[in-house]
């Protein structure tokens, strides 16, 4: 159980970082940490005590770990790649326009 709770704490650490940091890059890192904590959680959900990798062989073991969360994690990693690439591309453009990564100096719009 403690592992699951640590995963959730890692998620909260990422959320805290994404919300409170002032540096554009650190915000991106916060979001990445959230994503990785979820990947870890998904893998843990599929884990079984003494499980082996889920490859079916005739007459082999049947105590498999759940393969579906692993497939999900691969998809999430790919999506995370797209999100991070997009965020960093925008961050680079922001730096070129403003010459700083500090969001207090970038803030023109107010929602």
């Amino acid at each position: 159980m403690i592992l699951y709770i640590l995963c959730f704490i890692l998620f909260l650490v990422g959320l805290f970082g994404a919300i409170t940091r002032r540096n554009v890059i650190k915000i991106v890192l916060g979001i990445c940490i959230m994503e990785y904590s979820l990947n870890l959680l998904l893998i843990l959900i599929g884990y079984m005590e003494d499980g082996v990798s889920p490859i079916v062989v005739k007459g082999g073991e049947s105590n498999f770990v759940d393969p579906l969360p692993q497939a999900m994690v691969i998809t999430v990693i790919v999506i995370g790649l797209a999100t991070t690439a997009m965020l960093l591309a925008i961050a680079i453009r922001l730096y070129k326009k403003h010459g700083t990564f500090d969001i207090r100096q970038i803030k023109n719009l107010k929602g």
Partner: protein, 513 residues
């Protein structure tokens, strides 16, 4: 017919692949392919209205259920999906046709059409998928392409708005993913119908409340309901006008409100507390959005705040239906409330897209979005002026237009269901909406012309004008949906899909209580 369901995703995805590849040889590929594709999808989605009572299931990759346990991904088209598909593809067609002239000012328009097709593919996917994780994947396809489209102008404001949108959107996606992970943990399945069956057998579980909160926060962020609305007034105005129309018109509905409806009606069992929470969020959005809107002088920003307010109406309508269903109240009132909510969603898609296209037309000719810098445009741009007027009347609920009837349904349902405060607020908000659009007309369209002589304005190019006229005529035409025959054809299957909550899982899973 069900063999053709994947075309809704496959065709725009194929378009998104072909446009940049073939675009390097023949520059106009995107301009030719995208509107034709969207026209085809529009006709195709409207065709589905003719098979109304069925729920159609397509097994992706031919993975049929084994012993009633779904193993692959299902695409499910029922009444609600058909309604959403029709909205998405109609607006996408109008917006892509409009972009033919509008996007001339931007460089690299083939990337624009690529991203546009991707966004449509993502939204169509969200609407037709019957698998929770697949829903997340399509949602990410739709929103990541919308992040890029918001930043398409690459000026300071666009970049900042896009960054803000991405950070909040990213957090929302991860909250949704956390919810999905916990659901999978509890039920060991990802199929919506299967989850619903497992949850019914397992009874009420405490972790479900946690998951429901995560989904409300996540999808609420995507739908820009009021505590989560901060990104919308920046992101929607910063995008090019046809994209603003898509974002406000369909994206917040397809990935936000549709997902909330689908998950809370057809997957979870409705509980009174959650339904009340949804009603409260809707009411706060409805009232807060309009008060934030009335002080705006930037036309697109004003429209963006009105989006929050009008989506509040939709959520209030749906939420009231949920509350009545959860306490086993009068079915007819619940039906009325949900019909009102869905009808307003259709109408909002039409008139808000039209208003954003109008704002784009004004910006195209006058070069500004600030209402005070315009003036006397009405005589010089008659088509824009007339279509803006009809959309403004629709959004403020003036009788012959569609907005009136949907608001009326919501207000009648609120009175009949005993939500008197909501009924009063809905009327008041409607008046304030009218006031803020009268302000827009007073400053932008009437008054002393500011553009004279050499600066005299011309009417917008043909394709932009035609899209606006098309949507403006739909503003009038959709009010016909209150006629019982048409209502039964278009709205009733969608309402049934939500009202008979268990029907969805029974049909797909073959499970009977």
């Amino acid at each position: 017919m069900k063999e053709w369901i994947p075309l809704f995703v496959v065709l725009p995805l194929a378009g998104a692949f072909i446009i940049p590849v073939a675009g390097s040889v023949w520059k106009s590929t995107g301009r030719v392919v995208t509107p034709l594709l969207m026209l085809f999808l529009t006709v195709f989605s409207l065709l589905f209205f003719s098979f109304k009572p069925q729920v159609m299931v397509y097994y992706v990759g031919g993975w049929e259920p084994i012993d009633g346990i779904p193993v692959g991904i299902h695409f499910v088209v029922d009444g609600l999906s058909v309604l959403m598909l029709a909205i998405i593809n109609v607006i996408a067609f109008a917006a892509s046709f409009y972009s033919l002239s509008y996007m001339h000012r931007f460089t690299g328009d083939r990337y624009f059409y690529t991203l546009f097709c991707l966004m449509v593919a993502g939204m169509n996917g969200v609407v037709i998928t019957g698998d929770l994780f697949n829903l997340f994947v399509f949602l990410e396809i739709a929103v990541i392409s919308s992040y890029a489209l918001v930043a398409f102008g690459i000026e300071k404001a666009e970049l900042e708005a896009s960054f803000k949108y991405q950070v909040l959107g990213g957090v929302a996606s991860l909250l949704i993913l956390l919810g999905i992970a916990v659901i999978y943990w509890q039920t060991q399945t990802l199929n919506l119908a299967d989850i619903s069956v497992v949850l019914q057998e397992a009874g009420n579980h405490k972790t479900l409340v946690f998951v429901q909160m995560l989904f409300i926060a996540g999808f609420g962020l995507k739908a820009a309901m009021i505590p989560f609305h901060a990104w919308l007034p920046d992101a929607h105005p910063s995008a090019p006008a046809p994209i603003s129309a898509m974002l406000s018109g369909v994206l917040i509905k397809a990935v936000g409100v549709y997902s909330i409806m689908r998950l809370f009606f057809n997957m979870f069992a409705i509980s009174y507390e959650i339904s009340m929470l949804i009603v409260i969020i809707g009411t706060v959005s409805m009232v807060g959005g309009v008060f934030l809107a009335i002080g705006q002088w930037d036309f697109k920003r004003l429209l963006a705040y009105h989006s929050i307010s009008q989506m509040g109406y939709v959520v209030v309508g749906i939420g009231m239906g949920m509350v009545i269903l959860s306490v086993n109240g009068d079915q007819r009132i619940a039906t009325l409330a949900i019909t009102g909510g869905l009808f307003h969603m259709v109408n909002h898609a039409i008139f808000k897209s039209l208003l954003f296209l109008n704002s784009g037309a004004l910006e195209y000719r006058t070069g500004t979005r600030m209402l005070r810098e315009m003036g006397g445009v009405a005589d010089q741009m008659p088509i824009t002026s007339a279509s803006t007027l009809s959309a403004s009347m629709a959004i403020s609920g003036i009788p012959p237009f569609n907005g009136f009837f949907s608001k009326l349904l919501i207000i009648i349902a609120a009175v009949a269901g005993g939500f008197y405060l909501i009924a009063v607020l809905a009327v008041v908000v409607s008046f304030i909406t009218l006031a803020s659009f009268m302000k827009a007309h007073r400053y932008a369209f009437s008054g002393i012309p500011k553009f004279k002589g050499k600066n005299m304005l011309k009417e917008v190019p043909f394709t932009m004008g035609l899209s606006m006229v098309f949507l403006a005529s739909m503003c009038l035409g959709l009010s016909l949906l209150v006629i019982p025959f048409l209502r039964d054809l278009v709205l009733a299957p969608a309402v049934d899909a939500l009202m008979n909550m268990l029907h969805y899982s029974q049909h797909i899973h073959g499970y009977t209580l």
